[in-house]
Amino acid sequence: MKNFFLLLGLCLALNISNSNCYAQTVSSSDLLSNNKAYDGEIVTYQGEVIGDVMIRQDYAWLHVNDGAIALGIWANRKMVQDILYTGNYHKKGDIVEVTGIFHRSCLEHGGDLDIHASEIKKILSGGSDPHPLSRKKAYLGIFSLVLVLFFYALKKIFQR
């Protein structure tokens, strides 16, 4: 009997931990391919925040790219306060996990395909994305410029 309860306790613990650690995330291609099935459902979506966070009064629009497509996320302004980096050429954006209701054609937002977030968790902080100067490109740029100027001077001399 003691063993049975021990086993039951272990199973329950595993089940709880399983649901917490492995929340099923869906990909953007899955959402787009099966958009009717997901319409109105609570989904968990993960990716990098890119572009601008557009504040609209008490709410905000942000875009999360999972590597394939960037989806629009409509969230309460307070939820996006922790987002410090958004991806562009100079920066890698924060990686977030969004949980919310998926809309194939949102009635509130003119039919846009979006997710209304109920929770946004920062998984990984972004940061600056330095692009060190490429010496190869620098040499090639200077060399080609000198070549063009030399050629132009040569042409002028011949034209005289």
């Binding site: 787009l32 391919s33 958009n35 890119i50 572009g51 601008d52 966070v53 557009m54 504040i55 609209r56 905000a60 629009w61 875009h63 790219n65 497509i69 960037a70 989806l71 629009g72 991806g87 562009n88 050429y89 194939r104 054609s105 009635l107 937002h109 003119g110 039919g111 846009d112 395909l113 979006d114 994305d129 692009h131 100067l133 490429s134 490109k137 620098a138 090639l140 740029g141 080609s144 410029l145 070549l147 063009v148 050629f151 132009y152 042409k155």
Partner: protein, 501 residues
């Protein structure tokens, strides 16, 4: 007997081609300077410095080696135009290829041809991390190509009115706004630059009001204007216009797409205060009529499948995509996959018809063009009248385009040849698409979008698509933008060189 082109003809082509390549090289200094001063992007700026130097070197060498004072005739001018668009594609692809955001040089060439021809189909990877300098170049392509690559050369780099006129005509334009062709070219630039300034300010302010940061708002404003007014459909962010989630932003874009698809001659009339021309012109009337027909088809298709539950949403989504297709812009407020997954066949047919027919002649729009559609309809009406009325009756048919004109058989013949050429292009891409295993409707959609220089995509255009399809679409975009004649002239020139005596 076919006459073999002489060395002087080839030198003449080389000289003008060199001048145009020089012009393309010089324009690359804009993203180079902006990259250094404004965006602080050293590597992308170097990409443009290298590419500009290569283009200038080729351009100067070609025009120096082929220097001639001979006037450029119509045939060689068309060859110059056809070649210069290929040269522009290849040279402009160098900085994009160096960015590392393209899978291959072919993909970068696809992107630049798509940009210059104001199509808007894209093969860029990870657009959201692309530098602003490269993004500016992507959007500058439609602005230069929309007005016409030859227009740049005519305005600033080419001397001689006759040669300039032939270059202008070779680029698929046959209307002079003012008697002097150089003044016409400069007027086209003046219109475009004034609109660019106003458009950037307007979209920038709207951008700020919807939550974009000021610098980002004006950068987006300039990019979206260039690709919207020039009916290209590129966007600085991957979700395209869906990125902004704003009705007012969409309305402003619709306005610019529509005026971008208007004939430059109509713009000239409006600038002169002749507002009545808008209502009298055969092109605007035909455009309005066609839009009403295709909107009906699309709305019925969407309604039938219950794609959008709300009437206002149905109109907003349907109308935006439709105007984007009709003006051959290609901006989207839905994802490409939604076209096939949700829209259904009838709505797609509506969009395909709008893309195939396109905007107005002598504009930045592509497709068959409203002037041709209008003339074909009038000619059809004239023929029906001839059948109904007495054989001795003289049936004349007039149309108004800047001035009132009579329809002539030779004109109808010319219009029909180009129209059949467009249908051939649409069919060619569809055939190759189907041969490669894509469903018919999707292949037709994408092929029409490429050949009519639209840019709407149902998902076929992707880095993983076969190289042969990428090349097919490049040819379709090129031939579609030049209205086929310059491409025919180029092939004729090669045939004459090989078989001529």
């Amino acid at each position: 007997m076919i006459l073999k082109p002489q060395i002087n003809d080839i030198k003449n082509i080389g000289y003008y081609l060199g001048r145009i390549i020089l012009g393309i090289g010089l324009t690359m200094f804009l993203p180079f300077i902006m990259g250094i001063i404004l965006f602080r992007e050293a590597n992308p700026a170097l990409d443009f410095l290298i590419s500009a130097n290569i283009a200038i070197f080729i351009g100067v060498t070609l025009s120096w080696l082929c220097k001639t004072n001979k006037e450029l005739h119509a045939g060689p001018a068309m060859v110059v135009i056809a070649l210069s668009w290929l040269a522009a594609m290849a040279l402009s692809a160098i900085p994009l290829s160096l960015s590392g955001h393209y899978k291959s040089f072919l993909d970068a060439c696809f992107e630049t041809m798509s940009g210059f021809t104001t199509t808007g189909l894209t093969l860029v990877q990870d657009l959201d991390h692309l530098s602003q300098s490269h993004n500016l170049w992507r959007h500058l392509g439609p602005f230069l190509g929309g007005q016409g690559i030859a227009i740049i050369a005519i305005s600033f780099l080419v001397k001689g009115t006759s040669g300039s006129l032939n270059l202008y005509l070779g680029e698929g334009r046959d209307e002079k706004l003012v008697p002097n062709i150089i003044h016409t070219a400069r007027f086209i630039w003046a219109i475009s630059i004034v609109y660019l300034i106003l458009g950037t300010i307007l979209l920038g302010l709207v951008g700020i009001s919807i939550g974009l940061k000021p610098q980002s708002a004006f950068f987006h404003g300039a990019c979206i204007f260039m690709a919207g007014f020039d009916t290209a459909g590129f966007s600085p962010q991957s979700p395209n216009i869906l990125y902004y989630h704003s009705l007012i932003y969409e309305i402003v874009i619709i306005f610019f797409m529509v005026i971008g698809s208007f004939n430059f001659n109509l713009h000239y009339q409006i600038w002169r205060g002749n507002f009545k021309e808008i209502w009298k012109n055969i092109e605007t009337r035909t455009l309005l009529f066609v839009i009403m027909i295709v909107i009906l088809i699309t709305m019925v298709g969407l309604r039938q499948l219950g794609v959008y539950s709300d009437g206002i949403i149905l109109f907003r989504k349907g109308f935006f995509q439709l105007i984007s297709g009709q003006t051959t812009t290609g901006y989207m407020t839905i994802y490409a996959q939604q076209f096939i997954k949700e829209w259904g066949e009838l709505a797609l047919i509506g969009i395909i018809i709008s893309m195939a027919l396109g905007g107005c002649a002598c504009s930045t729009a592509g497709g068959i063009k409203m002037l041709r559609v209008g003339i074909i309809c009038k000619a059809f009406r004239q023929d029906v009248k001839r059948i109904i009325l007495s054989p001795s009756a003289i049936v004349v048919q007039k149309f108004h385009h800047i001035r009132t004109m009579f329809i002539e058989d030779a004109q109808v013949r010319a219009v029909l040849i180009v129209t059949i050429g467009y249908f051939f292009l649409y069919g060619l891409g569809t055939l190759i698409g189907v041969w490669l295993g894509y469903p018919f409707l999707e292949a037709l959609f994408e092929s029409t979008s490429a050949a009519a220089n639209v840019g709407l995509s149902c998902g076929i255009t992707d880095t993983s698509m076969p190289a042969i399809l990428k090349i097919t679409y490049i040819i379709e975009m090129w031939a579609g933008r030049l209205e086929l004649m310059s491409v025919f002239a180029l092939f004729g020139f090669f045939v004459a060189y090989l078989k001529g005596k």
